[in-house]
């Protein structure tokens, strides 16, 4: 099963194992309908899922995790027989897992193999693997595909979720593609499809957004305002990037390829292990949150409820986060100012005294924008700014960010929706495995970008002549 982020793959799988209830429709398992969506009951009927976030107990060893999932006795078996149980499974399926360390200390690949072994130990006839290869090395992924193939040959059903096209062709019999919660391609033989047609089914045809297109924008590129030189961290590998005033640079990519660290570094939460970040030629201070305001960096966080808002507090209070003065105005006066900001940014709410928790996702995001973009920032770091928003709200948010760029700010937009990135970006990079691939420039090559995101760069020919030549010169 293929699909990009947020297409609904994980939700579908959770329904299948009873962790979520469907609103309507039925699920048949081995011919009989499932009537109660309870994880324990569904498991007992022979269906098992390997989730993206592992459900191993990190403090227990591999053997103990097996016992927890399927106890044989009220007493725990002794060490030897627990080891024997694991060894037998390891042997039978060729999935290597160490037994003497807590699961939390196993490598990601081992943890996943253990999850799989646990499902096989319960003799699951239907195996659901949710993006199992996203966290694996190439060799591990190939090995996993091989194992899945042999499990299917034994008569089991294996559903394999991925966004890597190659894996579909290497290991799968049939394919479905989900997009925006709908099946675009449903249960068709893999042989009937080629890479290009699956990639476009996954990404979708270009939709027409109502917000101002990159092409419709006047270009007044200023000097470099945000400049990263060989910035590294646990997941980033020597990133070089310049964003100039008036420019929007988009970062596309599958989640978890280093975007999280990029956000943490540029928002000042984390110090890079190497390299420097310059804002308007000055080295950016880290770990001093209020300094961000002084540098003129606006930050639209990926998790607005964790980093950007205080839900139980008033909207007016949320507008002061990071910039609250020593002596605050009277509540009435704060509300007057806040009310104007809410109107200007079209935040629909019960007024400045309402709690941030009462806002819908789109309005909550507009509140963040009202605060962050209100002070005429020179650099805007926007992380998944339209995530979870309905199309109208997403349009408004995008429009606001484009306005900042027109006003001369350097905007770095980390996103997931390609159409949106295509519409707003002057240049676009794909983030893959901690590195930036690109830049891509308009007209964007959907296929090449889709393939780069899927880790498939064989056909990728980036035309470097598109890269603005001033960029290198502008670096301090």
């Amino acid at each position: 099963m293929l699909g990009s982020n947020g297409a609904g793959k994980s939700t579908l799988m959770k329904v299948l194992v009873g962790l979520e209830k469907p609103d309507e429709g039925t699920v048949h398992l081995l011919g009989a309908p499932i009537d109660r969506f309870e994880p324990g009951l569904v498991r007992a009927r022979g269906i098992a899922m390997v989730q993206q976030h592992f459900t191993l107990v990190p403090t227990l060893t591999a053997g103990e995790n097996l016992i927890l999932a399927r106890p044989t006795n009220r007493r725990l078996p002794d060490r030897a027989s627990s080891r024997a149980r694991l060894d037998a499974l390891v042997e039978r399926y060729g999935l290597e897992v160490r037994n003497d360390v807590p699961a939390g200390e196993l490598s990601v690949g081992e943890q996943q193999r253990l999850e799989l072994l646990r499902a096989l130990d319960a003799n699951a006839q239907v195996l659901l693997l949710d993006e199992p290869t996203a966290v694996l090395t190439d060799a591990e992924a190939a090995r996993l595909l091989f194992v899945c193939r042999s499990l299917a040959d034994e008569g089991r059903a294996v559903a394999f979720i991925t966004h890597r096209l190659a894996e579909v062709f290497d290991g799968c019999d049939r394919v479905s593609v989900l997009r925006e919660g709908r099946g675009v391609i449903v249960d068709q033989p893999v042989a009937d499809h080629n890479r290009a047609d699956l990639a476009s089914a996954m990404i979708g045809a270009a939709t027409t957004g109502t917000f101002s297109k990159r092409s419709a924008r006047e270009h007044h590129l200023g000097p470099s305002r945000l400049s990263m030189t060989t910035v590294s961290s646990a997941t980033l590998r020597a990133i070089d990037l310049d964003v100039r005033g008036g420019e929007i640079v988009g970062i596309a990519g599958v989640d978890g390829n280093g975007q999280g660290d990029l956000e943490a570094l540029l928002s000042g939460r984390q110090t890079p292990t190497g390299g420097t970040v310059h804002i308007d030629g000055q080295v950016m201070a880290v770990a001093e949150p209020r300094a961000r305001l002084g540098f003129g960096v606006a930050y639209v966080p990926s998790d607005r409820y964790r980093w950007g808002l205080v839900r139980p507090m008033e909207l007016a209070d949320n507008l002061e986060l990071g910039r609250v003065p020593l002596r605050r105005q009277r509540r009435r006066d704060r509300h007057t100012g806040a009310r104007q900001a809410l109107i200007d940014w079209n935040v629909r709410s019960a007024g400045p005294g309402a709690k941030a928790s009462s806002l819908s996702g789109g309005n909550a995001q507009k509140l963040v924008l009202a605060r962050e973009l209100g002070g005429d920032p020179g650099v805007v770091l926007a992380c998944y700014p339209t995530r979870g928003l309905d199309p109208d709200a997403a349009d408004v948010v995008a429009q606001r960010l484009v306005e900042r760029a027109v006003a001369g700010a350097a905007v770095l937009w980390i996103g997931a929706e390609l159409d949106e990135l295509f519409a707003v970006s002057d240049r676009l990079f794909v983030m893959s495995d901690g590195k930036l691939i690109g830049p891509f420039v308009a007209p964007f090559d959907r296929l090449a970008i889709g393939l780069a995101m899927a880790g498939d760069t064989t056909d990728l020919v980036v035309d470097l002549t598109h890269e603005p030549s001033i960029e290198r010169a502008a670096r301090p």
């Binding site: 939460r269 949150p289 964790r306 950007g308 209070d317 986060l321 928790s357």
Partner: protein
Amino acid sequence: MTSLDASPMTLDDDPLEESAPNGRPRNRHQRGQRAVTVSPSVIVPVASLVCALLVGAIVIVVDGANPFEVYRSVAAGVFIDNRGLSDTATAATPLILIALGYALAYRARVFTIGAEGQYLLGAIVSVGVVTADGVRDLPGPVLIALGVMAGALAGAAWGGITGVLWTRFGASIVISSLMLVYVAQALLQWSIRVPIRDPESFVPASRQLGNAQLGELPFLGTHLGFVVAVACGPVLAWLFARHRVGYRISVLGHNPSALDANEVASRRVVMMVVLAAGGLAGLAGFFEMSGVNGRLGSSASLGLGFTGIIVALLGRLHPIGVVAAGLAIAGLDIGFEVSARSHDLPSSLVGVIQALVVVFVVAGDALAARFIGEGE
């Protein structure tokens, strides 16, 4: 109050309310419900007080007394008796100061329970300072100013230890603050036996405070400490409503990640909170010595630091509510003191009722969250 613009700000804002993990709303309909119902932040404490008194009545019946009689004489002890009101004010003074400190801390979700120790340190050090050789003969106002400073600083230092242990070593403030209560109690016994002992005294005790003693204020019939404690209410209310410090305390209590990402490192605010709470408790220690006890004796640790928790929770962590709750809890103390004796009831009955209040507050909060959260 309106001029300070404090009370409307937080009456609806319950810092102890458990927000669902991951910051999701417990229920989307919560707001709509709140708009039409009376805020649980007023109902819960009042209902808790009523429930506690009802349970108390049952206990009194079991004890063979007439609850109406008992409660009538409690009320009479406070409102009719000559000194009832001024005694209540005096008894409320340390409770209010200590509970304001708890309110400050609990709003930040910094759970300390060690005000008793900070109170004792405040008492020991301030008494030590104002009765020291060469100091004790200074004029009263100077001594009182010295005592206030010494008490507050000592309490703050004792509270600050818990903050350091938390920020540096990750040691739970709940536990460390309580361990320090026992250490403070030992320190009290030693200090009145050795360094600040009154050489004339037969039992271990400090010297009389002499010039540092607080006289009874005209009209009020209580000492200066009461005025300070009550004044601290609006000051803190102002701090919460109109000052960056109060804002940061709220953000720390509700979303420490947002504080770290946008304002200031949260551990610095934690430190400030434990220092302030300790300072208020230490201040209470000095006022109690100079306004009531007159000297530091071995029975100075009466558990005010624990009753203060009841006051803070009953007052909904709102400074004005805390002042009101402090007066109510002290009123129960004063009223029961007489009533229990005349009805031959154990003096500790009032403690049971006070503790029941806080249990009902906790239960009421959980119920309110459930009821409002799940009722459509």
